[in-house]
Symmetry: C3
Subunit: 380 residues, 3 copies
């Protein structure tokens, strides 16, 4: 648990509140060997879009590891350690081959599973390539996104297929990818925080989604067998508008349509997107989305089927600091919590119950013996 700053009760009391506690390492550190990092590695994680794997290898950082993703001439996809096991040259300068990737420096050739196929400068009698493997991770392509499993090989789960991915009448398409220079929970927690849509996205900056978001809703937070969801309920004219957003642990969000606002009666349309919040390292995070597009005219706006268009508010509109000050969005609100938000300086309220449950759920799995289990039974 994070150490806490004093609870300040004095006006003009800044002098008593200057020390910055350490970050909450239990939830925020994700490198190899950290408890939370090992937990995240037990799940298939998105790496990049599959159509980014063309005629050049693609360097990625994932969970604190430097890696290279590529598609070889057969169409097989590999995710390997970035640095060649021979002398350390980066495979981002490697040559894609009919089978595998070849290091530019001495031509060693690696298959997608890490097998060393050739060490061409070595004598023909060399057995090094038969004894040594390069570090590799299993991958899975699904619907335009490349996923990888970075956990212990004997614990590899099947690739999950959620019901929302295979709904009749819906297409699942790859959407956009975003990079925030900050730690991961402060991004993911935003999805369990329906109140911010009333303030950040509506009252403070003018309606980024619709005007109805500006009403502070009634809130229900519900733990599920695989995570949690919230229901934000508002009265809109004669209707009751219930908006639901789900988290599937550890780092997948399913977000209700931003264009719905309760003005007309319609059936439940499910999520507009499924989005993973993927730590690159402790202070950089990538998120990547599948978009759900209805095949029924009028249900999904046409711009949502266009990958070139992004959801409003995800990135600053320009490089102008003044523009960010005048019209902040999720990027400003989340990144400015510091590179790693300091939980010991927070004061959570009733509306932060979703944030608390999310952290508690993570803690229950990662630190089962020390976590406070009072919120609910361990369901994961």
């Amino acid at each position: 648990m994070a150490t806490r700053a004093p609870f300040l009760t004095t006006p003009f009391g800044g002098y008593y509140h200057r020390d910055v506690p350490q970050e909450d390492a239990e939830l925020t550190h994700i490198g190899p060997g950290t408890p939370c990092g090992e937990y995240l590695r037990r799940f298939w994680q998105p790496v990049c879009f599959t159509d980014d794997l063309r005629d050049l290898p693609r360097r990625v950082t994932l969970l604190g590891e430097e890696l290279i993703a590529f598609r070889d001439g057969r169409g097989a996809v590999g995710l390997l350690e970035l640095h060649c096991p021979h002398r350390g040259t980066s495979l981002e300068f490697g040559l894609l081959s009919d089978r595998g990737i070849r290091c530019c420096y001495h031509g060693w050739l690696f298959d997608v599973d890490g097998t060393i196929l050739e060490t061409p400068g070595e004598p023909e009698t060399s057995t090094l390539k038969d004894r040594l493997c390069h570090g590799a991770y299993p991958t899975h392509e699904y619907n335009g996104i490349l996923f990888a499993y970075l956990g212990p090989p004997d614990q590899q789960p099947p690739f999950p297929r959620y019901d929302s991915f295979i709904r009749p009448g819906y297409r699942l398409i790859p959407g956009r990818q975003y990079f925030y220079p900050c730690n991961w929970p402060q991004i993911l927690e935003n999805a369990m925080d329906p109140v911010h849509t009333a303030f950040l996205h509506t009252i403070v900056t003018g309606a980024q989604f619709t005007e109805e978001f500006g009403k502070v809703p009634e809130l229900d937070f519900i733990e599920t067998p695989i995570g949690m969801l919230y229901i934000a309920t508002r009265r809109v004219e004669a209707n009751i508008w219930a908006r639901m957003v789900e988290i599937i642990l550890p780092n997948l969000q399913q977000v209700a349509p931003a264009w719905e606002d309760g003005h007309y009666v319609h059936p439940f349309h499910g999520p507009m997107m499924s989005r993973w919040i993927v730590p690159q390292d402790d202070t950089h995070t990538m998120f990547i989305e599948f978009r759900h597009v209805s095949e029924t005219a009028g249900v999904t706006p046409s711009w949502w089927a266009d990958r070139g268009v992004m959801l409003p508010g995800q990135l600053p509109e320009s490089d102008s600091y003044e523009a960010s000050q005048r019209r902040p969005g999720d990027y400003e609100a989340q990144v400015s919590q510091r590179p790693i938000a300091i939980h010991g300086l927070e004061h959570l309220g009733a509306t932060d119950r979703g944030v608390l449950i999310f952290r508690q759920q993570i803690r229950r799995v990662v630190y089962p013996s020390t976590a406070d289990n009072s919120i609910g039974p361990k369901t994961w």
Copy 2:
């Protein structure tokens, strides 16, 4: 005290003089809890110009603390901790309100004294806002500059009004603000170093002020009840020209006019400016000036009443490294002493008596039990 490098006495002896001692932490570290930082906090310190507080909040770093300055709709000025006490979002993206500033993320509203006026997403029964304060510091506007007191509340001194600020026949106007990427004493000491005006500002680079500065003066250093001053005396034709510069501890300079040079007889005109050297953090310093403008024609040059014009030599004339090499000024001479000047590598001479007295005065106050008090009695 700083550890010292060996006293090198050998030509071609670089080999014996390679180690760089630690900086003199006693005088150079100014963060919360450091002895010198706590000393600086016992005085009202300038924050920014008051006319920089318009329709957006202004982020500042002061004595190692991240803060936000703003003026609300009533005209009240606040200086608060930068990060919202709720979830840590930076208030630089906050919305100025009729009273106080509102965080962009969930709309919490803070008064200028840190009182939490609203937590709008929270239930009406919530008492959090009545029990919790946000960190705030008292401020004082004076003549176009915003000042703040960052020290212990029970030790808050009255805002000082020096005689030079209220001289009959003079206007006090806000001037310019400069930012140097280095530690603070190496900037402030420049004011107790009249010899550099002969070399840096005249002989080495051509006259930046007037030709008469190129004569090395006779020097007197005098401790005062509130700091020290020097008198640099030169013979100019048949006249005696005595130039005086004062330091008011800990970090205020009063600098004699740079345009006077003893060529004609005139009464004492007092300082051209009062300037604070304010540490932002250990390696960044801001200075900010009041200018003294005479209402008598011919005493103060007209350009000095124009805030758009700066005193020569305070900043490099361009981004060109070659131009800085060919015509260095105070910026190059002071910043290039390293981000924090290493006192243990210095060799001070007779002309550095002002520097020594300044450091000794600081040390006498901050470390009274260990300081060498031989220079004079403790007057502060």
Copy 3:
């Protein structure tokens, strides 16, 4: 010796191979007081081209030390500590004088041996300048390159003149200078690695030198009394082509002509260049070359006598990351081994015998009691 990562034998085994060992400090750390740094200091090292010493001083970093090189009005060359011994101002802003260099701040004047010639602000009775020296190193100009000796003064060797520098029928001219943001052995080892010419410079990227380099050669590595050399032997049509590259310890390479390829019979032409790989600090390295130009028409291509033209492959052709990926050269292959290559992650093969001998030779001299001496007798 470096700690080693596990030997990975498992396909898809990245999970077992995530930890990055520490760098091999014994060979890669070169600052003052490090064993390898002290070893490098026992040799004359290149500083810069002498024609870079014109009317401004030149700041250089060498073996982890910040220095200033300059030529005074007499033509004498100095290499001094960067920071003035008075108050620390950088001498890169100093004024070149008829004799020595003058600090811009207070005008102290330093001779090329570190003698303090003037402290003009000090009283005439001051003896400081007679007792104190500034740090200085002995220099030697040779053929357009400035060299310096940074080692213990009582161990200063004569400046070496190798037979290749004074060959009848050849001119020795200064060539080019390169800066790589990485540690030094990973650059120098490239010269003892003839196999990379077949892959990096030919097969992977298309012929950067000549097509014949694309054949993997027979290799001989031979220790010499002053270092080592390799002979790379290829059959070219009816000829035997033997290419030789030499290392003179600790950091001088003599490289065979890149334009020879065995297609015609000719006498031994000696090296095309003599090149020093000089650490600036642990993660930045400069190399600088003498070019050997034959006075016999047709032996040396005319472009090699033109300092404006560089050997292909030494630097990226543009700032484009994609261009570097498509056509990597020595820069990409060596720099991407990390700022300091991690020996504990390497797997050296038969073709890396030259790399092993080089490291072993350094280790034998620097760590004589612990090094494995099995490769050969200590010859240095």
